[in-house]
Symmetry: C2
Subunit: 108 residues, 2 copies
DNA sequence: ATTATGTGCAACTCTGAAGTTGCACATAAT
DNA sequence: ATTATGTGCAACTTCAGAGTTGCACATAAT
């Protein structure tokens, strides 16, 4: 149920350090299975599987079967979209603050 | 101990929905106290205080005394910096993936 | 056919963090 | 001086999710 829209959920997914390491490993390899990834992390395969499921839910990774194994790859679009969203929010804060400042100064 | 550097911690701070609403309220007002903010949220003042402390730790807000009250304001720089960082990571993923694709195709 | 390797599901533990309540202290207001 | 409003600290409860183990099932390999 790949949750489209809402950068909020992407943030929650990125909040976990293990998940971030996972994404880096995936990005470096282009494609990998949960078993391979678990070998390079201090957690079990099952933990990796759950993390991949979480990342899939928010659209940061996608998986497809290859024979008996399940290969995952990273989806950069989702991340860059979230970055753009975040930048807009920052800009919004900025304009709001400068507007308030203008009123406070020039005032009457 | 305003944790400078590391966009990772900013992500963790932004992961919480209450914290995001808090930031929006703050940005809209320019400045506000924990008591005022709590009045507009479904949580107690104490919860708000803890959230503000968390946001302060990662540099997303800053507080200063004004008489007997503690006023907080939002810091847009931290957010835009995190957005830039995130965009760079996305670009890194992209280049990594296209490099792998190039090797897989033309190869030699 | 049998062995090995990989995936998928379920039940369980455990820690961190979100939220609460209660109270003491500080600064205004009357 | 007394009352009201606001902050700060500490102890407590609750719950989601990160991680585990165990086992059943699927697909290769020999």
């Amino acid at each position: 149920m790949t949750d489209h829209g809402s950068a909020e959920h992407v943030l929650a997914a990125l909040a976990d350090p293990t998940r971030r390491r996972l994404l880096d490993l995936l990005a470096a390899r282009g494609e990998a299975t949960a078993t391979v990834l678990a070998a390079e992390l201090p957690v079990t395969r099952q933990a990796v599987v759950k993390h991949l499921a979480a990342l899939d839910r928010v659209g940061l990774v996608a998986g497809h079967r290859r024979g008996r194994e399940m290969r995952y790859r990273v989806l950069p679009e989702r991340l860059s979209a979230t970055a753009r969203w975040m930048d807009q929010v920052a800009a919004q804060w900025d304009s709001r603050l400068s507007a308030i400042k203008r009123i406070a100064e020039g005032g009457s």
